[in-house]
């Protein structure tokens, strides 16, 4: 059963009752909330996701709720509760959905140490994954959103999960977080894309989330072999350029972008080193999205023409 099979009242009943068991990639998330706006955005962006078994193992139990106390009578707020703890300060109630997404990212990046977790978008074509590590503001999510509207499969917009046993990328396709100017850029570039309503005045500015393509969600259990490491950077009026980086420098930068590189110890090093050993690594600068897509498509074509087997 999928989330879209529930009526809005059934969805709210689950959320406000025992909780909605949402399956995202390898994780089952138990979500509880009585906030109607959160339910509406979940219905809009998570309709294609399967509902897990209530008796099954839930990886993360989260709840989005209004805080207690007298403060709740002025300018409503929302808190993110994880296993009955409140890891974050409250946010304005209008930010319930972004808070859910940020909180879920925090859960995965803090606890899923079965994987090497890199702060990177990751997309796949022809069986190979392009891993895009980058700091906020580099145009990573804009590029990721554009690529998945042009035939690339979304594996993740924010957290690249590398399985340490074989180095493969494990998908975690969830909505793509767009900020500020990139919201309208993506709307104009892909009018068919489904976006959440804009949420204003967050710590990251204005936020909207783009729905993950249904095909990416349906293939959430198909892993991909890392094909390229590409450090993207959007620069106004810049010419498109793809410059190789040495494996050693690439390894250092990849490690810098990993949440749990140190926690994994030697396993983390070996995993990153294996990627640096087998994947070409590039610095990528762009200002024109179509040129960026063409560059990525060329890389995927080269792999296809060499008839390299992904797994």
């Amino acid at each position: 059963m999928k989330v879209s099979d529930l009526s809005s009242s059934e969805l709210m009943a689950q959320l406000s009752g025992t909780g909605l068991q949402l399956l995202t990639g390898q994780f089952q998330i138990g979500i509880r909330s009585q906030i109607p706006a959160l339910g509406r955005t979940l219905a809009l962006l998570y309709g294609d996701y399967s509902i897990g078994n209530e008796q099954g193992f839930t990886d993360f139990h989260v709840q989005l709720r209004y805080p207690m106390g007298l403060r709740r009578w002025w300018r409503k707020q929302v808190v993110f509760e994880f296993d009955s703890a409140l890891p974050f300060k409250p946010l304005p109630a209008a930010q319930a959905f972004p808070m859910f997404e940020w909180g879920l990212n925090w859960c995965v990046s803090s606890y899923a140490n079965l994987y090497l977790i890199i702060h990177a978008a990751v997309v796949e074509k022809n069986g190979f994954a392009a891993i895009l590590p980058a700091p906020p503001g580099s145009g990573k999510s804009t590029l990721c959103a554009a690529l998945v509207t042009r035939g690339w499969r979304l594996l993740s917009d924010e957290l690249t999960l590398i399985r340490t046993t074989d180095g493969h990328v494990v998908p975690l396709p969830r909505p793509i977080s767009l900020k500020n100017a990139s919201i309208d850029i993506v709307k104009a570039y892909a009018p068919q894309a489904v976006l959440s309503p804009k949420v204003y005045d967050t710590v990251k500015g204005t936020i909207a989330h783009m729905k993950a393509p249904a095909t990416s969600v349906a293939r959430a259990h198909e892993c991909a072999k890392p094909g390229w490491i590409i450090f993207p950077r959007y620069a106004v009026d810049a010419a498109t350029s793809l410059l190789p980086i040495s494996p050693a420098h690439g390894l250092m930068r990849l490690a810098d972008n990993a949440f749990n590189y140190s926690a994994l110890g030697l396993t983390g090093f070996e995993t990153v080193a294996d990627i640096a050993d087998t994947c070409p690594i590039y610095d990528f600068t762009y200002s024109v999205i179509d040129e960026a897509i063409a560059t990525f498509d060329r890389l995927a074509e080269e792999v296809a023409q060499r008839d390299i087997r992904p797994i």
């Binding site: 040495s246 494996p247 050693a248 390894l251 250092m252 030697l266 070996e270 080193a273 640096a276 050993d277």
Partner: protein, 96 residues
């Protein structure tokens, strides 16, 4: 002055051309070093060495070298490497 590796576990290494990465398992630190520095570290992980011993090792590797490096050149380069490796806590002086 004798040097030894300061880590309980041998550091992991990966090399590509003129660049090597050394991962210090004890501290969790990762370092970008030259291949020569990586080799010096490997040598010191096997046994304590002083500068003269390390120079001898290099000379042994240069037996068939038509233009072996000058002794002073080797000493300077190896001294710098030893200082650098000590600075990042991969090696230390050994008590006599």
């Amino acid at each position: 002055m004798t040097w030894i590796a300061s880590t309980a576990h041998p550091a992991a290494q990966r090399c590509w051309g003129q660049e090597c990465i050394v991962y210090d398992i004890d501290s969790g630190n990762t370092h970008l070093v030259t291949p020569l520095a990586a080799e010096v570290l490997r040598e010191l992980q096997n046994r304590p060495c002083n500068l003269e011993t390390l120079v001898e090792v290099v000379l042994q590797h240069s037996v068939n070298d038509a233009e072996p490096p000058a002794l002073s050149e080797m000493q300077t380069a190896l001294s710098t490497i030893l200082d650098d490796l000590a600075r990042i806590d991969l090696i230390r002086w050994s008590a006599p």
